[in-house]
């Protein structure tokens, strides 16, 4: 089967030159994975700008709750009449910010971009198993983004029940303005998004399993591919559950069913619903929700493995342990979802089970962190911006992972659940790590994507300011949370006990603005370099993996002529006896070389 597909696509590649290439099928309805990857990336960046812009608006509100900012009025119109934000709008911004960051930027923007770019190129395939499904995946994502953005403009405002949209708040328009048409659009958008993710993930899985080139055994796969592959499996197993959760919510909203609703009085009226439970929704949601954080994180870790190994000029330390820990994390991620629900009134025994499984994840995570650090040890570090962001990722992964030990412990979570401590934790371990991983990926594979180099000194400046402001924003939030400050509060001026936290809130917001400004450096660098950057050479980072053997100028089918054959694992950096400090995977093992078991 695999061979047939391969032959078919090889045949296709030869034939390709006779095709008529129009603007439409080259740039818009492209079925070439490299173009689709760029489409995902650029859509992701645009959504990222929106998501980040929102966070800056609500940070203004949090730091200076009683000041009036004309800029709020400019962006929010009637939701900030005299420059002061409406509480409903605050919740809407937080909700859409979270949704966009989690799903649109760090799921589609990250996986969509790099799985698409790297899977065929690194396993040695002409393209994805199905180019057409791949194209559909992007266009579902695009439509979903458009619907989400459109939802910002409906008269009652967008969805505002938090990115987790727990019913009954999200189910009843009487509960808040955002639960009207805004919520309907949110659900429509997420449904399209889920379709996009599934189409993408199926393609990734099939491609990795069936279209590897000759010699590319599973144990010779770069860790990027392992990470994307396992991520895709997580997606396939968990997104349908979110879909069912959303579907039942849709029924409750518009067909009068009672899956999540029971004994409710709202807007002066008793609803007829009985027998449902919002806790059911929480279980369904977090059955996706927890794997989702690894869907976000694993690709970033995969990218980091590759970038750190290449730029340390050393094999990744403990390849098998790295693969093992990816698999272990993925498995455990399906049996820990209850840690989001310790205080929902669940059976206390269940709480102990979820505490146990959750804290187990710390073991494979620790293994990964130590292996990264050891990869640097005795290396010859090439400190490109990509490398610096990867090192930043290791740092945030450790910092954020450690606070997970507090949150995963049910006894401690009683007191910190839903406070800013949680906001600090998940932004550092998931938000920052994944964003750093995404930046690392962009800086590293930009030459492969656009055939041009980014401007390195700008990349350095971007890293320095981003690193400082990232920790400047999220580290202090631990203190807010431990002082008892709940999240999703429009302002904390209503409780005198929080008055001493004003300082911290201002510091956070100043760093947030600084961090926002730093992204201008990145955007300029990205777009300028994509159009006018210095032309990229064949293998700018002296890397071993297959993607650097394909011609710089993209061609449909990736390699002219035969697909290269692979003879070794991708991590032969600084191998004793080799002439240079890297040995590409395509180089045959020489008779006097020591066998490495790969």
């Amino acid at each position: 089967m695999a061979a047939e597909v391969q032959n078919a696509s090889e045949h296709h590649a030869e034939e390709h030159h006779h095709h008529h290439e129009t603007f439409w099928n080259k740039y818009v309805f492209s079925i070439d994975h490299k173009m689709i990857s760029k489409q995902f990336l650029i859509t992701g960046i645009v959504m990222g700008i929106i998501g980040m812009g929102m966070s800056l608006l609500f940070r203004l509100q949090l730091a200076w709750p009683d000041k009036s900012f004309p800029i709020l009025n400019t962006f929010l119109g009637k939701w900030a009449e005299d420059g002061v934000m409406d509480p409903n709008m605050y919740l809407a911004l937080v909700t859409i910010h979270g949704t966009i960051m989690v799903f649109f930027v760090l799921t589609a923007g990250l996986s969509g971009t790099f799985s698409n770019l790297l899977i065929p190129l690194q396993v040695g395939a002409r393209d994805m198993a199905s180019g057409f499904i791949n194209m559909l995946s992007y266009w579902f994502f695009f439509t979903s983004s458009v619907v989400m953005v459109v939802s910002l403009f409906v008269p009652d405002g967008p969805a505002a029940a938090g990115w987790t949209i727990y019913p009954p708040l999200s189910a009843l328009p009487a509960a808040m303005p955002g639960s009207g048409s805004g919520m309907t659009l949110w659900l429509v958008s997420m449904t399209l998004f889920i379709a996009s993710s599934l189409l993408g993930a199926l393609n990734y899985i099939v491609t990795v399993l069936n279209l590897r080139t000759k010699g590319m055994s599973m144990t010779r796969l770069p860790l990027t591919i392992w990470a994307f592959f396992v991520t895709a499996i997580l997606g396939v197993l968990s997104f349908p559950v979110l879909f069912s959760a959303a579907l039942l919510l849709l029924f409750d909203r518009s067909m009068g069913t009672s899956f999540y609703l029971s004994d409710i009085l709202i807007g002066g009226e008793v609803l007829s619903n009985t027998g449902g439970s919002p806790i059911l929704y929480e279980h369904l949601f977090w059955f996706l929700g927890h794997p989702e954080v690894y869907i976000i994180l694993l690709p970033a870790l995969g990218i980091t493995s590759e970038v750190i190994a290449t730029n340390s000029r050393k094999p990744i330390f403990g390849y098998r342990a790295m693969v093992g820990s990816i698999l272990m994390i993925a498995f455990l991620s399906f049996i820990v979802w209850g840690h989001h629900m310790f205080v929902t009134g669940m059976n206390p025994f269940l709480g102990t089970v979820f505490t146990f499984t959750t804290l187990l994840i710390a073991i494979p995570s620790a293994v990964k962190a130590f292996n990264y650090i050891t990869t640097l040890w005795k290396g010859n570090l090439q400190l490109t911006p990509a490398m610096l962001f990867s090192i930043g990722l290791v740092s945030t992964f450790i910092t954020g992972g450690l606070t997970g030990i507090i949150l995963g412990d049910s006894a401690l979570d009683i007191n910190v659940h839903d406070t800013y401590f949680v906001v600090a934790h998940f932004h550092i371990v998931m938000g920052l790590s994944a964003i750093f991983g995404m930046f690392a990926g962009i800086y590293h594979w930009f030459p492969r994507m656009f055939g041009r180099m980014m401007i390195r000194p700008l990349g350095y400046a971007h890293f320095v300011i981003t690193f400082i402001s990232a920790y400047g924003v999220f580290y202090p939030m631990h203190f807010l949370g431990l002082a008892g400050l709940p999240r999703r509060y429009f302002t904390n001026t209503e409780f005198p006990m929080f008055d001493n936290l004003v300082d911290i809130n201002i510091i956070i917001s100043v760093f947030a603005i600084l961090g926002g400004l730093a992204q201008i450096l990145f955007l300029f660098n990205f777009f300028y370099s994509a159009l006018r950057g210095k032309r990229a050479p064949q293998n700018p980072w002296r890397s071993n993996t297959l993607e650097w053997t394909a011609p710089v100028k993209h061609l449909h089918g990736n390699w002219p002529g035969e697909i290269p054959e692979v003879h070794r694992w991708p991590y032969d950096y600084s191998k004793p006896g080799a002439k240079e400090d890297f040995v590409p995977q395509t180089v045959p093992i020489s008779p006097d070389e020591e066998a490495t078991g790969h």
């Binding site: 919740l91 009954p168 708040l169 009843l172 609703l261 029971s262 709202i266 008793v270 919002p278 730029n311 000029r313 050393k314 330390f317 390849y319 929902t344 009134g345 102990t352 710390a362 073991i363 130590f370 640097l376 005795k378 010859n380 570090l381 090439q382 400190l383 090192i391 290791v394 450790i398 606070t403 030990i405 507090i406 412990d409 006894a411 401690l412 009683i414 007191n415 401007i455 000194p457 350095y460 300011i465 400082i468 202090p476 002082a483 008892g484 999703r488 509060y489 429009f490 904390n492 209503e494 008055d499 001493n500 510091i507 600084l514 050479p537 064949q538 700018p540 980072w541 991590y571 400090d581």
Partner: protein
């Protein structure tokens, strides 16, 4: 502090600008040549090895500095027996993760400096080392096993409490956007209630035909509790999910429409005693000095109940005062309240 920050921002902005200008010069001069190898020069590696190390240590120092500076806001003084247990678990866990944090971050960033790719540097080929890997699998496993066991025992003892004394039963009732409480009265049994029975003054939907409910006492605005007597809270919600969060008692439980949830703890300090705790006095003095600057009324310490689950526009201001007092004070307060039967 503010000035320091603003200066830092300005300095960084200037550095960024200078970089941009330099970049254009460099990129222009570079455009011509097209090298095969685009790795950073030895000089760049040298600089960013040092800068990376400096950044890492800057963050490390910030983490330590902020602990001293803001540590005093952490964990408001605990006022329940259960809170003492969780706090102890918290400090032990914090000590462990703090230790790991303080060690691993400097190692990571020191390596960035130590192994930066300067002239003459060669990487050492190593694939794996079973002994090392075993060490950092086994040690975290042991440490976690201890933390997990300790955590599970603490959790179980809080969630399945075994009080010598019969706990006082109190219902907390949440709705957009206020709290009410119902004390179980002389029989210490709450009468049946459902939102469908809400009518007129019966705002909690207590069943008037249930004899257990007639002596229940419904209060809003302020809830009083006796010190050193366990309290078993039952939670209900009228409209959407809320969460009853009482940070000083280290207590939290969601209020879920359609179900009754529960949580119990034993307050061990009265409000008056809390006001005498030195740490609380310091915090309140600090808060009051800030409030004076803002031209607001001085504030006196009180326990509060907050809503901690997003529930709508005024989620941020859904609070109730809790007063913990001696048994006698509590009983005389209770006498002044009207029972459900009286309110009908």
């Amino acid at each position: 502090m503010m000035t320091l920050l603003i200066t830092a921002v300005v300095v960084l902005a200037i550095i960024a600008l200078a970089q941009v200008v330099r970049i254009f010069e460099i990129s222009n001069s570079m455009r011509e040549q097209k090298e095969e190898d685009n790795r950073p020069s030895h000089k760049e590696n040298d600089s960013y090895g040092k800068i990376g190390f400096a950044l890492g240590m800057l963050f490390w120092l910030f983490a330590i500095w902020s602990t001293f500076k803001w540590g005093k806001y952490l964990l408001p003084v605990s006022a329940s027996n259960e809170g003492l247990d969780t706090d102890q678990l918290m400090w032990i866990t914090m000590a462990v993760i703090g230790f790991v944090f303080l060690i691993t971050q400097p190692i990571l960033f020191y390596f960035v400096y130590r192994y930066r790719g300067i002239k003459g540097r060669k990487a050492t080929y190593m694939e794996h080392d079973n002994k090392l890997e075993a060490i950092w699998t086994v040690i975290p496993t042991i440490v976690l096993a201890i933390i997990i066991t300790y955590g599970i025992f603490t959790w179980s003892s809080i969630m399945n409490p075994d009080f010598e004394e019969e706990p006082l039963v109190v219902e907390l009732y949440a709705k957009q956007f206020s709290w009410q409480a119902r004390l179980a009265g002389d029989d210490n049994i709450l009468g049946y209630a459902n939102v469908r029975l809400i009518e007129g003054a019966n705002t909690l939907g207590v069943d008037p035909n249930d004899l257990n409910g007639l002596d229940d006492i419904i209060v809003s605005g302020e809830l009083h509790l006796p010190v050193n007597r366990p309290v078993l809270f039952k939670f209900r919600a009228q409209d959407v999910i809320h969460s009853a969060y009482m940070p000083h008692f280290r207590a939290q439980m969601n209020c879920v429409p359609g179900t009754v949830t529960q949580f119990a703890f034993t307050p061990n300090k009265t409000t008056a005693e809390m006001r005498q705790v030195p740490k609380v006095i310091n915090q309140i003095d600090h808060i009051n000095s800030l409030r004076e600057e803002m031209g607001e009324e001085p504030y006196e310490f009180d326990f509060v109940l907050l809503c901690n689950k997003i529930c709508g526009s005024a989620h941020y201001n859904m609070q109730m005062k809790i007063v913990v007092e001696t048994e006698e004070e509590f009983n005389s307060w209770l006498k002044e309240q009207t029972t459900f039967a009286e309110s009908l």
